[in-house]
Subunit: 247 residues, 2 copies
DNA sequence: CTAAAACAGGTTGTCTGACAACCTGTTTTC
DNA sequence: GAAAACAGGTTGTCAGACAACCTGTTTTAG
């Protein structure tokens, strides 16, 4: 049974109070009701207003502090920091609510992945190239079996292929940020990707798009790697966006 | 008094227990003592082992959950997630400890910024271009006054200039991730940047590097914008790395 | 004998109250 | 007039309790 992952996983996560308080305060900050430098209401005050215990408020504020949205000082209070203190980049599920946002996320992904390929073209090692080639063959084999028999394997292998390419950039930070974005897009859009893959991402023409990326990596051609990767992901995004049932 | 920011700011932040517990558990996860799927010790157990109250442990775990490192279920326990669940990209101060790490961060910054310029070259509006030009003039004016009189202003204006360019990509996600990285690099390396700017980032030759970026944006030349930006930041990073007193 | 229901123990989520550490402005003291 | 003591408020930590929930076991009903 190739359940692998993500299929039938828990969907109805029980709400957690601190999270809700956190998004509520975050909204107040990003909405402008709380400007940088402003002091938040005291924890006791917030607890009373939200109707929760202070421990809940504390956990919420601790999350905001973690991302650098607020800074709290014992004996004084918690203050909204200015935007130059943000210490995390995160993609919330809310980013997938509007179609325009999704398109922008896909664009971000496309460009970062293109940059990763370009970097990899100049920094890849031989053994990394061997692994990449092996993944490509595995993908081609799954592709040949067609969308009915090898849908999931085809999509997963492609994912793995580009993850390996990204890691061949040999820059752990670049790899980490790309992987994080990629992962979040997958987790939120996987069903859309699967449907789309079944409909339009199989076949020799598509494989040719991937082939071009590999060729560029083989040749250590930075610009070709960028262009090929960018083209490949842009087209895939276009084909996805063209689907009527998307988002 | 142009204290502006960051000068003489609080350095000796009082340690917070939950943060320390969080890094301790994180280390256990990233170090491999706790593998994906493993269950963490119970909160009570952790509290006893760390010698702190359960509220402290709870806050720590809530941070890890926020980043997608663990997933906790009421009545069952907290489990280490696999790497495909990470939901945040963050740059910790630890990233600035080793010289190699810093170089890789600067490279990441360079490439992302180059991508942002390239994007901006095709998406910028006229009014954005006007603003960018104005910032460039302001920077040129500060540059002319030299490192003795206008050091901070010169550096800050340059920062602002490239932030505006990034925002001209008109992709909020791209802008956000670049701004976050840029901000963290600045916060941790500002003194190094200042010293370096005073020594080697002033003068017509340097301004010409920036000019090339602006020209490409004017011409809406995507490739030229990328190349010019990349060249500019790579050279700056090289000049910085060449300094003996760096890191 | 089997399947459903009740039970027991353990774990996370939330609440409450308390006190320590700390900050700020005021008052008192020298 | 300056330093010291004081008072009130706020965050950080601790302790204990109970609710909500999960899992495996035992009991019960058929």
């Amino acid at each position: 049974m190739p359940d692998s992952q993500g299929l039938f996983d828990r969907i109805d996560r029980p709400r957690r109070l601190p999270d809700e308080v956190a998004v509520s305060i975050t909204a107040a900050i990003e909405g402008g009701q709380l400007a940088p430098g402003d002091r938040l209401p005291t924890e006791a005050e917030l607890a009373k207003r939200f109707g929760v215990a202070r421990t809940v408020v504390r956990e919420a504020i601790s999350l905001l502090r973690y991302d650098g949205l607020v800074d709290s000082r014992r004996g004084v209070g918690a203050f909204v920091t200015d935007a130059s203190q943000r210490s995390a980049f995160r993609i919330s599920p809310a980013c997938f609510e509007k179609r325009k946002q999704i398109v922008q996320l896909l664009k971000l992904r496309t460009w970062l992945q293109a940059g990763a390929s370009a970097l990899a073209a100049s920094t890849r090692t031989e053994s990394q190239m061997v692994q990449i080639d092996a993944l490509y063959r595995q993908m081609a084999e799954a592709d040949a079996r067609g969308p009915v028999d090898a849908l999931e394997e085809r999509v997963d292998t492609e994912l793995l292929l580009y993850r390996h390419i990204t890691e061949a950039s040999n820059n752990p930070y670049y790899a980490e940020v790309v992987a994080m974005i990629e992962t979040n897009i997958q987790n939120n859009l996987r069903s859309a990707f699967l449907k789309n893959a079944a409909a339009s991402e199989f076949g020799p023409a598509i494989m040719e798009e991937h082939r071009a990326v590999l060729d560029a990596l083989h040749a250590k051609d930075v610009e070709a790697a960028r262009t090929a990767t960018r083209t490949r992901f842009e087209r895939a995004a276009d084909r996805l966006a063209a689907r009527a049932d998307f988002a």
